[in-house]
Symmetry: C2
Subunit: 343 residues, 2 copies
DNA sequence: TCTGCTACATCATACGAATGACGAAGCCGG
DNA sequence: CCGGCTTCGTCATTCGTATGATGTAGCAGA
């Protein structure tokens, strides 16, 4: 009497129905399904239950499991602007790392509205997600996250000691300035990202520190800001370059470097003969534009997998908070966009 | 194995505790919190309960709510390779569209392993997510998704009639071929994406159809395949271009077009003077490389928001399945990489 | 005083799985 | 024939919320 089949209709199969169909109790089904049946259920029964469950298309209801066990394997990832290739990498790597530990990843985009922090806090309070990795936060955000800070891992926090993960910005900027001065450059421009993020501020500070240490000049006319919108960035770069005062240019992001390329081409400045350019991030674009871009690489995979690891550790580890942040070092990839300055 | 318990901050507040603190019953708290209190709870009590809840930091437990109500506002998004900028756009737009209807988005990356389909089916069966949008599926995938097909929305399915959303590939290819032939090109090459996806096959079929309709030649030596890995793609493009048989080249993706640019530059072929290039996707890169790339645009935002809309409709609408797919048309953005062919 | 309302609030149960506390056999040794 | 030990299962409760059913008090009308 094969009673089939329960099509994929909307009502879902419960452990009670499996129990009925298999002629056992709900407890037995639960024990078998959760793999805790050893020593409590005979092998024959286990097989029978498994077969019945399969036949009925049974899958334990996640909400019920979570409610009962308190175990929730979903984390959120709050990233600014997923469409930036760099964050795409981060997202991908984080998903992979999470999946390896049986976690799923919920996306929270932080780019367009201010409501995301409250939504995130709500998600965590209501236990829709167990915790969250937050990239590039700022003070306002961190204040709101305070009450749930043991469920949050900050990457590149405003306050470095709050970070779980931090990047070796000073080291990277030292490498950049060393590289450029090593090539004979002294008038180094700065195309900054016009976003109020800690990471950009810290890059600029590190730059100034390095330049001072080397007693090199910094002029405000050698510097400007731009968003990542291509046309706007190109205009900003153009107005900077057409003064023809600098021989090298650091850009806060590879996209800005690409804009600088466009600007340089438009006004007849050759890269690297007339201008050396250094970017930041090392996204694929860096090798696509011509000449290939010298840039500081952020190892997105390492950052993401380390974040996941730390967050999950923090979530069940409990009280080992006052750990120092993990520092990720950022290699400078030297390519064809930088060359010796000839006087 | 001692079970570590009781750390101060981690126990979460329940509606019973709020009820106690406020001197009312749990039911009352629930009614107030869910906004269904009108006519059942006096205003004074409502305010008092709300205040108490706020003071204790109460948030309803999501699992319990879902279990009780059966309402689950999380959907999954299965996309191949989030790090491709195009899918970054899709993801972002989908998250936004979902959020507007109070849904959250769970990411499923389909690029690196084959296990994702089973994981996805499990998520849906166990009601961890309510439904899923699946991009660029294939037959194998669709077979496995069959049992839960009313919770899935396919975008660009292998079998067009299964799709909820489809792209007007034939229209796009017609525009491409019209554009190139209008410029006097007859020997048109094809740099294909080496991935077994329906979308690429359909592009190629549409290409052949158009070329036949115009009685233009197609030669296998004018065509090759490549993955999106930059170096490999550049090599493939190089071997295609160094034959110097074609005057125009269609590329399955803007990244491949970028590789073609590199190849062309390396062997001294000028774009667009010696070779016109057309891409596909219109990612930001298309305007960054020089000359700016003529390319078929996929309106990622429209695709994503329409997908979300359709899926959510399908999830609660229930039985209006046999709807025809929504067709999204793909404009050709003509830029500087295509020019008249001079004999 | 009794019926009929309205306005508030509570009771009790269901959602579906997990799990500690209990059996019920079967078997052994004495 | 009885106590004790395994082996195999089941019972009953718990997780936290939502909600139909059920009061209770107060008041108006008759």
């Amino acid at each position: 009497m094969a009673k089939s089949v329960v099509n994929a209709g909307s009502r879902s199969v419960t452990s009670f129905e499996v129990a009925d169909a298999a002629g056992v109790s709900q407890s037995t089904v639960s024990l078998v399904m959760s793999g805790k049946a050893e020593g409590r259920v005979s092998n024959a029964t286990q097989l029978h239950v498994q077969e019945t469950a399969r036949r009925l298309g049974y899958a334990p209801n996640a909400s019920a499991q979570i409610l009962r066990t308190g175990v929730l394997k979903v984390i959120a990832l709050a990233v600014p602007n997923v469409q930036q290739p760099f964050f795409g990498h981060v997202l991908l790597a984080a998903e992979l790392a999470a999946r390896e530990r049986d976690y799923s990843v919920l996306l929270v985009d932080t780019s367009d509205d201010a409501g995301w922090v409250d939504r995130l806090v709500g998600m965590i309070r209501s236990r829709l997600v167990a915790g969250c990795i937050v990239y590039a936060s700022d003070d306002t955000v961190e204040r709101k996250l305070r009450p749930i800070r043991d469920k949050i891992l900050l990457v590149e926090s405003e306050n470095p000691d709050q970070s779980g993960i931090d990047l070796d910005i000073p080291g990277a900027m030292r490498a950049v300035v060393d590289h450029l001065t090593g090539l004979g450059h002294t008038r180094i421009g700065y195309l900054a990202a016009d976003y109020p993020k800690a990471t950009f501020r810290r890059r600029y500070e590190a730059f100034r520190t390095e330049m001072s240490a080397k007693r090199l000049p910094i002029a405000s006319s050698w510097q400007t800001k731009a968003t990542f919108e291509l046309e706007a960035a190109t205009r900003a770069a153009t107005s900077l370059l057409e003064r023809r005062e600098i021989t090298a240019l650091f850009c806060d992001d590879d996209l800005l470097a690409a804009a600088a390329y466009r600007a340089a081409r438009a006004i007849g400045i050759r890269i690297p003969e007339d201008l050396s350019v250094v970017g930041f991030n090392d996204i694929e674009l860096a090798r696509i534009i011509h000449p290939e871009l010298t840039t500081v690489a952020i190892p997105a995979d390492d950052v993401a997998s380390a974040s996941v690891e730390l967050l999950l550790g923090q979530l069940d580890g409990g009280r080992d908070r006052k750990r120092k942040p993990t520092i990720i070092s950022l290699p400078l990839h030297v390519r064809a966009s930088t060359a010796r300055h000839v006087t």
